[in-house]
Amino acid sequence: MSIALEHVSYVYSPGTAYEKQALKDVSFEIEQGQFVGIIGHTGSGKSTLIQHLNGLVKATSGKILYEGQNIYDAGYDMRKLRGQVGLVFQYPEYQLFEVDVLTDVCFGPKNQGLPQEECEKNAREALELVGFPEKYYRHSPFELSGGQKRRAAIAGVLAMKPKVLILDEPTAGLDPKGRDEILDQVQKLHRETGMTVILVSHSMEDVARYVERIIVMNHGEKMYDGTPREVFRHYRELEKVGLAAPQVTYVMHDLREKGFPVSPDATTIGEAADEIMKCFEYRTGESQ
């Protein structure tokens, strides 16, 4: 139960002036149930990468194994794969098209060939999962606010009951409140359903708070792969490629340089606060 990439490379428009190597020999494996963040600055190949995972883009070379099976094998059922590996694109609200929200969310399950009642049941469940208010179910998706549209669009993918959920910059263009709400919702989803979640972002803060593993992409190559703690230890290298560790990492490193016995590995504000408190306890203990 996993997705594995083996030496995947991808070249855009080969043989023209627009030729561009988007991915270079990328390999990794994601186990079922993991919460993974993929980060990288604009143009690092992260969006291209995730489009490989459900077969929307075919690798120029390399293999992709879903549950041990090569998805490029002849006769492999791509539509079934897309139902299991749900991909939510950046600004997914731009793909809404139906007369009302519920019908739009039904689009996915309907394509899977489910009967009408089951489509609707799945759609309602999905909308509930993303915290979409029931009173808007019969409203046109074009009348909703930005945050609600996005929830509806994410529900549109969840309604297919995927085992893996990939979100490409799910918080782009949302205000801080909307951003936290969506990410909290995603985290809840991961906890309650146990589905694999892959979160693509360029915001380290967002990613650090939620994921258990980070894959850093740079110029189409995998640069780091590990727990947030391991990855943020390379904060100086990250800076060089246009990324930054969460601000707490910097604070902790600064404190340590000033001589406070704190561990610089804290990646979230909570952890950092604990570390600083420990340091105080240590001091008061000393003075007594």
């Binding site: 023209t16 459900n54 897309r82 731009y94 098209f97 996915g108 394509n111």
Partner: protein, 274 residues
Amino acid sequence: MIRDITIGQYYPAESRIHRLDPRVKIVCTLLFLISLFIQNSFLGYVIATVFLGAVIRLSNVPLKYIVKGMKPVVILLLFTVVMNLFLTQGGETLAHFWIFTISENGLRTSVFMAVRLIYLVTGSSIMTFTTSPNGLTDGLEKLLHPLNRINVPVHEVAMMMSIALRFIPIILEETDKIMKAQMARGADFESGNIIQRAKAMIPILVPLFVSAFRRANDLAMAMEARCYHGGDGRTKMKPLRYRGRDRIAYAVTLIYLVVIFIVGRYIPFKLWVF
């Protein structure tokens, strides 16, 4: 996939053709198109081939790229060829089966028609490949400027054209994105009969129109915010000016036109039926 549509697109490269004044390219393309229609002989097409080949060579646009741009006209091309092949009569009969007859004239017309069509598309694509959309509309605006006197809103038409051209790649990219997003939700665009396929387009077309209107609205706002008020009193940052190379290009094209006219009309030469 859909990104492969290259017709009407600009191909950024460094070349002598790219550097020419857009007006030269527009006028010369027009002359080239005319040259295809004022003659219909084997030698004439040979000269046109040489001229077109030389221009392609000079333009540094890969031939593969140009050929790829022909894809959308293949069906039209086949249709023309088949129609002409079977429906044009005259001369000796070359082949006959059931109700179909291929005559000398039919073969001749269909082959010449196909070449003409291919050169027509290639010739105009060379212009768009080597001229940026802005250059193209600048050139057109300047060329059509005299029409201002009879109250044709030349500037506005040129501006609309340049916006339309500018939006082609954007809309294509948007289509690609929306298609992928719907495919990620299990949409299928490839199977089913014609009605099912047309229906499958709705999930693409609705978001596409919504986004096109949104973009048009944003653009209008941005233009107003920068005090755009039409063509009156508007000056250019880079006014078009003819240079030596432009005069040479005009001269070469005119010579080509004269040669193809004389050769095509007055030198009788036949290779088999052509």
